[in-house]
């Protein structure tokens, strides 16, 4: 009996001592904050934060390696709780929500085969990319629904996932499991900065729209009678629905699939109706904005492009200031569009809306006269965006006799020539460079030599053999010391204070359209040429971002980025209509004077995104896979038989009425009934899907 007590008691003693000693020897300090933070996290282990599960995130947050807001699954309440544990303030994050990007379920879409395998999209994907003919369509097997850690997704009757917005936390699990990448997160910023890519569903009209408006979505909203939702959708890409609704050249309607059947949907009049609806309601819909970044951006030029840039910068959380040389904002919209097409009060209401969205405007501040780039940078702006517009304002101001230094070291060739004719040409010291200008550039180069330039460089996009000169002319110029850079582009300018110091030139010899500057750089070194005067042959200044250069000072942990008085320029990324991506004055887009306001709006939005990327420290490039004008996109070339339905006629003033009141607006806009009927003509196209059974107007009226 004693031996039993001793043996078991001894074992117990041994175990107890072992554990007691071990708990001292192997004592590991576990930061109570980590435990507390982990308890505050939702524990769904969704991976949306990028850490291995909630415990990994908790450790990173408690160690200060990650922000309390990285938990996308938990939302603001969790962020607040975590921040409270750590005793820090929580930064506001933009809410995200999943959006299924497909509109036709497997029952309605064209199929390649009937799938009867594992009930999982990823498995179905292995069979020739899934059953749908459409390469980006939702496979409808609900992998996203099963993966959602918050139960926010369900499968609808049409075989497409449905998002319960109140449960969705924006963790992105669905986005990660979807083999088609068709269900995506959307936030205000993502929607505003979106470009259409090959791996998402897009309709012909929205791909064609230079501003990139989600046309099917707003027509759908208008058809449902949700006119303000339609305005909201439009304003994600275009802050000028009233203006565009009146004067847009609507290339979208040319691509409308209804052309294959009868007449295109009256896309633009519907836009005008919903915009008018908002204006007539007397109040503006609230504009969703990203959390404030505290970055200030000056936008030079208060025309359609500049205002658009400022509007979207405000939506992305920055503080834009529009600097306009004239007394009124609106640029060409105000100066050359007649009242009969665009009444001034309509324009004013629209511009007022943009200002109310968070845009500051300074009028009567002319660049080169009242303000300068370096002055704005010295004032602490984090970037200056130059959107001086389609036609150079200096020309419309009357002939200058003294060329004005608008951009540091940059002059228009036409101004230089005028000044030379007037005998006021300034002496050009140092090195000069001419970009573009066609036939005039050799003469200009020789003029620069005459004016005292040491080295004169001429940069051409085209190769030598395609240059608009005879070879002898080139050789003669070269003999006089002019240096030619054929098949090259100016990618950046560098300067200090008010001076241009040098210019970066990229050889496009091995360039493949669509490549980024970085990819090109990997092939051939970029040349940095000292240049103090840059002459542009085009009649206008390019869109450019002037940004201060930061310098790292200090050692190790003490290192900090210090702002210097040096600056560099960044070229905004090219839109879908540019043929090349690298450099300023890209063929196909930037060299053209904007023919239509909608093109200026598109460029303005891309300018804003480019500034935004630059401010975030991201590379300023177009999203990979962006659909360009040259991209071949899957489409349909004939429609299944649908009953034709004539397009609604735009009510307008009679010629007699027009004569009686020449200032009155000629087009009167659709009535609500017309909009409903017209919206119902829309086929709600996807890549290859479209509405094959058109609802009858009566039933539509009833459902509304």
């Amino acid at each position: 009996m004693l031996s039993a007590i001793l043996a078991i008691g001894g074992l117990g003693l041994f175990a107890g001592i072992g554990l007691a000693v071990a708990s001292k020897v192997f004592y590991v300090y576990v930061d109570p904050k980590i435990v507390a933070v982990e308890e505050a996290l939702p524990g769904a282990n969704c991976g949306g934060c990028g850490f291995p599960g909630c415990s990994g995130a908790a450790e990173a947050i408690a160690m200060g390696k990650a922000d309390p807001t990285i938990c996308v699954g938990g939302g603001p309440d969790t962020h607040a709780a975590v921040a409270a544990i750590l005793g820090i303030e929580v930064k506001e994050v933009e809410p995200e929500i999943a959006r299924p990007g497909c509109y036709y379920g497997p029952q309605e879409a064209d199929l390649k085969y009937v799938y009867d395998g594992l009930n999982d999209c990823r498995a179905a994907m292995l069979l020739n990319g899934g059953a749908k003919l459409c390469p980006v369509g939702c496979l409808g097997l609900g992998s996203c629904v099963k993966a959602c850690p918050f139960g926010a997704l369900s499968m609808g009757d049409d075989g497409l996932p449905v998002v319960n917005a109140s449960l969705c936390t924006g963790c992105g699990t669905c986005e990660r499991v979807c083999p088609k990448h068709i269900i995506t997160l959307t936030s205000n910023s993502r929607r505003v900065t979106q470009e259409y890519t090959l791996d998402q569903c897009s309709a012909p009209c929205q791909r064609t729209c230079p501003a990139g408006i989600d046309i099917p979505a707003y027509i759908d909203a208008a058809g449902r009678g949700d006119y303000l939702e339609a305005v909201r959708i439009i304003k994600e890409k275009n802050p000028f629905p009233l203006v565009c609704g009146r004067i847009c050249v609507h290339p979208c309607e040319n691509e409308c699939r209804r052309n294959l059947l009868d007449e295109p949907v009256a896309i633009n009049p519907i836009k005008r109706f919903v915009a008018d609806y908002e204006m007539k309601s007397g109040s503006r819909i609230p504009i969703e904005k990203a959390p404030a970044t505290g970055k200030r951006v000056a936008v030079i030029g208060g025309g359609a492009e500049g205002l658009t840039t400022a509007f979207f910068l405000a939506r992305l959380g920055h503080e834009p200031t529009v600097v306009e040389g004239k007394s009124h904002l609106g640029g060409l919209l105000r100066t050359i569009i007649p009242d009969a097409r665009l009444p001034k009060d309509v324009l004013d209401w629209e511009i007022q809306g943009i200002l109310e969205a968070g845009v500051t405007a300074q009028t009567n501040k002319k660049l080169g006269r009242d303000v300068s780039i370096q002055g704005l940078l010295d004032d602490g702006y984090d970037a200056v965006f130059v959107a001086t517009g389609g036609w150079d304002s200096q020309m419309t101001d009357g002939l200058p006799t003294q060329p004005v230094q608008a951009l540091p070291g940059v002059q228009l060739l036409v101004n230089l020539t005028f000044a030379h004719m007037a005998g006021n040409a300034p002496a050009v010291g140092g090195d000069a460079m001419i970009v573009g200008g066609g036939n005039a550039s050799i003469d200009a180069a020789l003029l620069l030599k005459e004016l005292g330039a040491q080295h004169v460089h001429v940069v051409f996009r085209s190769p030598r053999e395609e240059a608009p000169f005879k070879d002898e002319e080139i050789q003669a110029a070269e003999a006089q010391g002019v240096i030619f850079h054929f098949r090259s582009a100016i990618t950046r300018m560098f300067g200090k204070g008010a001076e241009l110091t040098h210019v970066e030139v990229a050889s496009l010899e091995n360039y493949v359209p669509g490549e980024t500057l970085q990819q090109l750089h990997a092939k051939a070194a970029l040349q940095q040429i000292p240049v103090q005067t840059l002459i542009t042959g085009a009649g206008r200044f390019p869109e450019l971002i002037y940004a201060p250069v930061y310098e790292l000072r200090g050692e190790g942990d003490q290192q900090e980025a210090v702002r210097t008085d040096r600056w560099e320029t960044v070229v905004p990324y090219a839109g879908p209509f540019a043929e090349e991506d690298v450099g300023i004055f890209r063929p196909g887009e930037a060299t053209s004077d904007y023919k239509a306001v909608v093109e200026a709006i598109g460029a303005g939005r891309r300018g804003a995104i480019s500034v935004h990327k630059r401010l975030l420290g991201e590379e300023v490039v177009a999203p990979p896979g962006m659909i360009r004008r040259t991209t071949t996109v899957l489409n349909v070339d004939r429609l299944e038989p649908l009953s034709p339905q004539p397009r609604e006629k735009m009510p307008a003033l009679s010629p007699a009425e027009q004569l009686a009141n020449p200032k009155a607006e000629v087009e009167l806009g659709f009535t609500e009934e017309q909009v409903r009927r017209e919206a119902q003509r829309c086929l709600r196209c996807g890549l290859i899907c479209y509405r094959r059974t058109v609802q009858e107007p009566e039933s539509l009226a009833k459902s509304a």
Binding site: G12, G16, L19, S23
Partner: protein, 197 residues
């Protein structure tokens, strides 16, 4: 009232091997015959009730760091008592259950109840909880044992039921039969539960 509730929850709502899917090893291993299942169930019930009782008495003096070790010692003591008693009075059953008698000590149900219930409640409730869970476990094992005995040997409690023309499914007495039988029982219980609600 509370006692009755704690007792009855183990019989259907939280019946251990079927609902909680705990204590599977003895559930699968010894249920080749109804009698074995009954014996194992009763042995487990005894340990469960006794250990619940002792743990609930000791709950305030055991430091939390050696909590698990202390509970295990208590449980193991009762397991040894069962082991010795069965050896002395139920030798054939002891032989059949074999290694699974000492393994009662690691039956997750027992430690689970000690940790989850007895360490937080008084002795009376703990006994009721142990008794209910134990009986639920016993009934489950007996039922599964009867089913496998019926299919595997054609008998229930060693009484021939299906007659001589019945060809027994020998596989039912082997591991595959154990897994599949339990799986089907769980599916049936799911079905009944959804029908009810």
């Amino acid at each position: 009232m509370g006692v009755a509730k704690e007792f009855t929850k183990g019989l259907w709502k939280e019946v251990p091997p079927f609902r909680l899917v705990l204590g599977l090893c003895p559930t699968l291993a010894v249920t080749t015959a109804a009698e074995n299942g009954l014996g194992m169930g009763l042995a487990t019930t005894f340990v469960l009730v006794c250990s619940n009782f002792i743990v609930s008495l000791l709950r305030s003096i055991i430091p939390s760091k050696v909590r698990i070790a202390a509970y295990i010692v208590v449980i193991a003591s009762f397991v040894v008592i069962v082991e010795l008693t069965m050896q002395a009075y139920f030798y054939p059953l002891y032989k059949v259950l074999g290694i699974f008698i000492p393994l009662i000590v690691v039956n997750c149900i027992i430690l689970g109840r000690a940790e989850a219930f007895a360490s937080k409640n008084g002795p009376v409730l703990s006994i009721a909880d142990g008794l209910g869970m134990g009986l639920g476990f016993t009934l489950s094992l007996t039922f599964l044992g009867a089913l496998r005995e019926l299919l595997g040997s054609g008998t229930i409690f060693k009484h021939a039921v299906l007659g001589p023309s019945f060809e027994p499914f020998a596989i039912m007495l082997k591991p595959p039969g154990a897994f599949i039988c339990l799986g089907l029982i769980l599916a049936t219980m799911n079905l009944i539960s959804t029908r009810k609600s």
